[in-house]
């Protein structure tokens, strides 16, 4: 059996607000085999970042993991005390964020921020750390690393900053890199470069990547396997080829159509009508049923379970095969 870098089983996490429990992630299971790039795709607010934060142990108050298990290379992460999570974060797993413009401390030099992880986890002295940082900067395609080492973040462009963020996340060679919409804030050409960089680094080092995006194009380019998410639940999962070729869930179809629409007829509105449901008041049946063109009686009354359509292809829909 191939080795799993990340194994999430029945993960539930949500927010305990004054108005009630918000189930942002509901019974999500997901695996990332070693060296693979796995994508999560879905509309804004469906809980993608919440999964990432649950794995990193960086949930924001009042968010909490309420059930399930998360295993990083066989080691259970849920329930670990903060001190131990601090030892794992940055060393065995790391994360890059959406906003490269604000993800670096404006008053510290790039070099000082990048070497922080090495000083912490590898107990390196400053000179050795500096060497390693310069190597890493070079590796992520930053020219004149010496100059950038002493630069302040505001002296760098957005693309460069995201490269720095990637270098910073990878400096201790983590087993897992979580990239939460790493290119949303960048323009298209830079986006392609950054994605290629992440994929190349993953291939060279055998690092697994969890790539989060609401952009199917990005997912298509990058991923081995894809999970489609809606209102806190996985609604379809398959390898990238199957998903694009023979997706089964009407929501996935809607996402595909909106991409195609934008390409062929940019003036038409994206294909999925309606809005994401309020997580506090989810419909009794399938969460997607109010927006679904195929929804029937049963969809509104009963919640569908994940069903296997083909080996490795799962879908949560009563009408799945018809989409």
């Amino acid at each position: 059996m191939e080795e799993l870098t990340l194994k999430i089983e029945h993960l539930c996490s949500g927010f305990f607000t004054e108005r009630g429990y918000v189930p942002a992630v509901d019974d999500v299971s997901l695996v990332i085999p070693q060296g693979q790039v796995v994508g999560i795709v879905g509309e804004s607010g469906c809980g993608k970042s919440m999964i990432a934060r649950s794995v990193m142990g960086l949930l924001k108050y009042p968010g909490r993991i309420t059930g399930g298990s998360i295993q990083l290379a066989g080691r259970e992460l849920t329930g670990l005390p903060d001190r131990q999570m601090q030892r794992i974060r940055g060393k065995d797993m790391a994360m890059i964020f959406q906003e490269p413009m604000t993800s670096l401390n404006p008053v510290a030099t790039v070099g000082r921020q990048m070497r922080e992880a090495l000083l912490l986890h590898e107990k390196m002295d400053k000179n050795a750390a500096r060497e390693q940082v310069l190597n890493m900067l070079e590796r992520v395609g930053i020219s004149e690393p010496e100059k950038r080492y002493n630069a302040y973040p505001h002296e760098l462009s957005g693309g460069l900053r995201q490269r720095v963020m990637i270098a910073m996340a990878m400096i201790c060679m983590p087993k897992l890199l979580i990239a939460d919409e790493p290119t949303t804030a960048l323009d298209v050409t830079i986006e392609a470069q950054i994605l290629r960089l992440i994929r190349d680094l993953s291939r060279q080092t055998g690092m697994s990547v969890l790539l989060i995006s609401h952009n199917l194009g990005v997912i298509a380019q990058m991923c081995d396997a894809v999970y489609v998410m809606y209102a806190g639940k996985i609604v379809e999962q398959a390898d990238a080829f199957t998903l694009f070729d023979s997706h089964a869930h009407p929501y996935t179809k809607g996402l595909m159509d909106s991409v195609i629409d934008l390409k062929t007829n940019p003036r038409r509105l994206p294909a999925i009508g309606g809005v994401v449901p309020n997580l506090l008041h989810l419909p009794a049946g399938c969460a997607f049923s109010p927006r679904c063109p195929l929804a029937g009686e049963r969809c509104r009354a009963e919640r569908p379970e994940m069903e296997q359509l083909a080996p490795g292809h799962m879908c949560r829909c009563f009408e799945g095969r018809r989409a």
């Binding site: 990193m56 794992i88 413009m101 401390n105 912490l120 505001h154 996340a169």
Partner: protein
């Protein structure tokens, strides 16, 4: 209250997000000098005053403690620019030596209260929960007291001395600093770079020292310049009431007090130190305003 809090958090978050885009401290200061002449002038004046206080023995031929009784209560003249007091001492000389105490009283307790307030406020903001609750309720209690009254009580019980003045003034001003430090910390804690630091496993103490504190420095600088005049005024009031600095030490507030009896025949004895207090307080406020504008990212966009 809840509404106000979220609004404040949102605003400071916006501020924090723009810090990433703005210039370095030195650029901002240079821009302030260029744009806000009044603030720059105030800064220069304050610096001069400090120099005068430090080099008082060189600047004046007279002695601050012993005077020439024959020369008592003389109006301003070429020999005594600001006249003499009831013991024949040169008022300008007294003013320069008094500046040492008054400025020290402005700076030392303010600095001490900044350090204490910043440490407590940042701990409260970063840790949240119970620690936050305890520290901030304590601060609320402090703020609910009329501060001068509190300082008076302290001075009465401890007795008047420079050290006790420092203590009293520190005690009455740390709470407002803690409030500012807490709200800054809460907004910075949510910022992406603090999150990024956490995501590579940096521990809380180091995050506060390395990532949050440096980004609070601009507001602390502004707060400092705005708190110094308050301390100077408090000391003046206490000394005027006779429970602050004690003779033979002197401060501007004490000089105003001493000159009170001669207000009709020799008004310069009280007026000179009053004017000095006013000047310093105004300069600090102008400088503080200028710094606030210079360091506020919203006003830097043109």
């Amino acid at each position: 209250m809840a509404l106000f809090k979220t609004k404040a958090a949102a605003v400071s978050e916006e501020l924090a997000s723009q810090i990433g885009e703005s210039d370095t401290l030195s650029i901002k200061l240079r821009r302030m000098v260029r744009r806000n002449k009044l603030a720059a002038f105030s800064g220069v004046l304050l610096a001069l005053l400090v120099l005068c206080a430090v080099f008082a023995p060189v600047l004046t031929p007279y002695d601050a403690v012993t005077g020439d009784i024959a020369q008592r209560l003389k109006p301003p003249s070429a020999a005594h620019w600001l006249g003499t007091d009831e013991m024949g001492r040169d008022v300008l000389t007294r003013l320069l030596y008094g500046a040492r105490v008054s400025l020290a009283v402005g700076v030392v307790p303010t600095l001490a209260s900044m350090i204490i307030g910043a440490a407590l406020g940042m701990a409260a903001g970063y840790l949240g929960g119970k620690a936050d609750h305890i520290i901030m309720r304590l601060a609320d209690v402090m703020l609910a007291f009329p501060s001068l009254l509190l300082a008076m009580v302290i001075m009465y019980t401890l007795g008047g001395s420079v050290l006790n003045i420092f203590l009293a003034l520190t005690l009455i001003s740390w709470a407002s600093v803690a409030r500012v430090a807490r709200s800054e910390t809460i907004s910075l804690k949510e910022s992406e770079y603090v999150e990024a630091a956490r995501s590579i496993g940096v521990r809380p103490a180091r995050i506060i020292l390395r990532h949050i504190l440096p980004n609070c420095i601009p507001s602390f600088i502004v707060l400092f310049t705005l708190n110094v005049p308050g301390a100077i005024l408090s000391e003046s009031s206490l000394s005027f009431l006779g429970i602050g600095i004690q003779l033979p030490n002197s401060s501007w507030g004490l000089m105003v007090n001493m000159g009170r009896q001669f207000l009709y025949n020799a008004p310069w004895i009280s007026l000179a130190p009053s004017a000095a207090i006013m000047l310093v307080v105004l300069c600090c406020n102008f400088l503080g305003d200028g710094l606030r504008d210079a360091l506020d990212p919203h006003l830097n966009n043109d």
